[in-house]
Amino acid sequence: MSINLKAIVEGLLFVADAPLTAERIAQVTEGTPKDRVQKVLDELETEYGEMGRAFVLKNVAGGYQFRSRPELSSYILMLKQKPPTRLSRAAFETLAVIAYRQPILRAEMEKIRGVDVGGTVKTLLERDLIRIIGRQDLPGRPILYGTTKKFLEVFGLPNLEALPTLEEMDSLGVGDEEGLLF
């Protein structure tokens, strides 16, 4: 019995609860070229999206993962014994500065936000959304911060390049006063 590559890839994705990379799938499928695996992944992503099921296949943090549709969140939260991901407004703002301007110093974040960010940086570090990625060659060798892989997972981004560019936002008119969340 021969099983086609798509079924194998689908099966591997089914049992993985973390984003599975095309590289790893290629290894497991006895050296199937990565571009073939990628093609199958793209097909599956489209198919699951079009099937209108309760979950979709998403490209996050460099891998692929099944995720439930957002419409179901209230029921899933009832089932789960874990409180939902919550971030304060200050945490979202600091995270945004880091995501868009990384690598970035704490002093630079404070300049843009206009407030002390020590507390939020600590929270974001604890939540594994940001990390220390090095030190600036300046007096005192200040710490440079950047986002983590977990950040990409939490915000459903395949990679950092997938962050909407701020210029795009300007042209889309996002951030009109009415549209402000906070």
């Binding site: 993962q65 957002p70 971030l87 979202f92 995501a99 459903g156 936002m169 951030g175 549209g179």
Partner: protein
Amino acid sequence: MGLSIKLEIYEGPLDLLLHLIKKNEVDIYDIPIASITDQYLEYLKAMKAFSIEVAGEFLLMAATLVQIKSRMLLPVLETDVETEEDPRLAIVRPLLEHMKLKDAAEILAGREILDRDVFSRTTSLSELGMADEDQLVPVSLFELMDSFRRLLSRLEASGGLEIVLDTRNIEDRIREIIAFLKACLKAEFEELFAKDRSRSELILTFLALLELARVGVLRLFQDAATGRIHVFYLEGRPPFIPLAGLNNGPDSAPVEPKANDPENEDPAS
């Protein structure tokens, strides 16, 4: 100063400035600096009046605003008109940057966030709100005390100072617990305290539980993974001692003891 309040609405001076610009519906590229500066200083005064500690950043921005205001009043030499930069740019630039940041934050907050809007598969029984019955261990006295203390402190934290005329005694409470457990056979420790509104009620329930455990009507187990305490009703069965790590299939856990089923009897009893 005895009392200080932390104001969360305008987190920093840039937020306050942005608020004033929006409130006055003025163009960010053409800020009426005199009026905005006055209003800004008004806010600082109000904050002081409410004993809100004004952070250094706010004072720095106030100084910047006043400086810009005074520079605006000075005549610009005719030869410098072309080269002289609008002094307001010193605040317009950071303001624009700040607005961009707010947009970026909004975009992030509006995304489908994992474990808030969308979820991935999970293999953890306890995360799904189910006891992993292979992981149950007998509960120690200290764990029991800890759990009870948590309940007490939660009641105190919720301001549970109301005085309740309590006419129930321990026999009543024991009867209630048995009736409750007869219906569902097992419960979570905290579930049994759900109706208790005062310290004495909590203590009464706790004593009733201890008594029932002592005489072998129920048993208390703890989920090794989550630390949650589960209460199992023994339905007239003699008490038994579970063997830690004993694993002979999903039916072996001390969950739904059937009194008339000799095959289900625990060998240790």
